[in-house]
């Protein structure tokens, strides 16, 4: 049986892992390569590394860091931030990443998804999206609107419609990172995660809001996520991957228990 994936997320600013609430008040948490190795040895199923300021600063991703992570771990990892061309995608894959995550640049230029899927295969093109709840259901019937650039811009795009469009364009996986839940540790935003999981036939990753193992259980059982991203609670050491997996396993959720 396919197991549910638990994916630590490393947000990078200037080659340091940082964590903030809703992209504000970022604090330094450590070296990305050391943390990638620690989580890999601790039993994570995959990693995601976001160069979170690359897009806003209009510069390409830090490819040297991607290479170092690839050299250090033997599990898959996705890379996002500052990917705007097929050349950028090719460089990230050749540096050893398994997947490329596109987010705000895909909103401006959806053809990056189809171009990437055609050139490298859908399975390595991940659409990341940052939906926020909106009262404007005339424009966004799902009640959720896609935002971009570190949640600073609203796009007018309905989150579910955008997920379906991205799937049609060739995205092989969709990360639903709730703006409202991000950094709160109050649990994933189950409503939009489930709406998107129902709407698309590709895997959906829940992101933003993990505070304990029960939150992951709910993302898997109630929102039908295929994977969940965890950041703050792991970074601070409040809980380990082993503890999360033990709890999920005890609840009957399929997770990888030996590594």
């Amino acid at each position: 049986m396919l197991t549910k994936r638990i994916i630590p997320c490393l947000d990078i600013i200037k080659r340091r892992v940082t964590k903030g609430v809703r992209f504000l008040n970022n604090i330094d948490l450590g070296d990305p390569v050391e943390m990638a190795v620690r989580y890999s040895e601790g039993g994570c199923d995959e990693l995601v590394v976001y160069d979170i300021t690359a897009s806003a600063e209009g510069r390409p991703i830090d490819i040297g860091m991607v290479r170092e992570v690839a050299r250090a771990v033997r599990i898959p990892f996705a890379v996002g931030g500052g990917i705007s061309t097929l050349g950028d995608m090719s460089r990230v894959l050749l540096a050893g990443a398994e997947k490329i995550s596109v987010n705000s640049l895909a909103v401006k230029n959806p053809e990056i998804i189809s171009g990437g899927a055609k050139a490298f295969g859908s399975q390595c093109i991940v659409l990341g999206m940052d939906p926020a709840a909106t009262p404007d259901t005339a424009r966004c019937p799902s009640g959720y609107e896609v935002t971009t650039r570190g949640f600073r811009e609203r796009t007018g795009l309905d989150a579910v419609a955008w997920a379906k469009r991205a799937e049609e364009l060739g995205a092989g996986e969709i990360v639903v990172n709730s703006v409202d839940a991000d950094g709160t540790r109050a649990g994933f935003e189950l409503t939009i995660t489930r709406l998107i999981a129902e709407a698309v036939s590709v895997p959906v990753v829940a992101s933003g809001g993990a505070g304990c193992a029960a939150h992951l259980r709910d993302a898997f059982n109630l929102a039908h996520a295929d994977a969940a991203i965890v950041a703050g609670i792991l970074h601070t050491g409040e809980i380990t991957l082993r503890q999360i997996k033990d709890e999920l396993h005890a609840e009957g959720i399929p997770v990888r228990m030996t590594w």
Partner: protein, 209 residues
């Protein structure tokens, strides 16, 4: 020396790095002579079958791949490399592939809405038979998969490992004589994946295995 065949289908760095972690020299190459001269050949790849076949033809790699696979050189297919060893793939509207192993490569057609395609993640590999590449690897050990299509060998005896997904039990590892091939990514499958690659570097195939 291990040759990793480069046919512009991604993922080669992680394969090279995995062999590097085992202390083995592996050359990423699209030179037919280097592939023919190699002690061992790895045929990896991610991407689409149609583009892969076009690239292989363009790089004049089809004949050398068929030659090393037929003359006993230890040969390991991975993911897309495994799929295009078969006769045909449903991908890209139907693609004729290398025909080194008999069989075809259909797409997952899940009847359950929650079985997503592609399959992405760690799934168990049940060992259908003993094979030197699985030495030291537990039965039902978990490996990392990323794929929408899967091997369906014409002869079930080709299956070395079986994995269940989207209502089918498919051959996640196949092999005959000197050719072994995995749908999963050993280079991305942590400790047990490295063990499989380590076994490959020491594998002396026998014609009947």
């Amino acid at each position: 020396m291990i040759a990793i065949i480069d046919y512009k289908a991604g993922n080669l760095t992680s394969v090279r790095l995995a062999f590097g972690a085992l202390g083995c020299e592996a050359l990423v190459t699209s030179d037919p002579q280097a592939i023919l001269a190699a002690d061992r050949v790895v045929f990896p790849g991610v991407g689409a079958a149609g583009a892969a076949m076009w690239n292989l033809a363009d790089l004049t790699l089809i004949a050398p791949i068929k030659e090393v696979a037929s003359r006993g050189t230890p040969f390991l297919g991975i993911c897309l490399g495994t799929q295009i060893l078969f006769d045909s793939s449903e991908e890209d509207g139907g693609t004729t592939t290398l025909g080194i192993l008999p069989g075809r490569v259909p797409r997952f057609r899940p009847s359950n809405r929650w079985d997503k395609v592609p399959q992405i993640g760690w799934n168990q590999v049940a060992q259908a038979r003993r094979h030197p590449l699985l030495d030291g690897i537990p039965d039902n050990g978990e490996f990392y998969f990323v794929h929408s299509f899967y091997p369906a060998p014409a002869d079930p005896a080709l299956a070395i490992g079986l994995t269940g997904y989207a209502g089918v039990s498919f051959a996640s590892m196949v092999g005959r004589a000197n050719v072994a091939a995995t749908q999963f990514h050993p280079e991305k499958s942590g400790r047990i994946g490295l063990r499989l690659l380590d076994n490959f570097t020491r594998w002396t195939p026998t014609p009947d295995v």
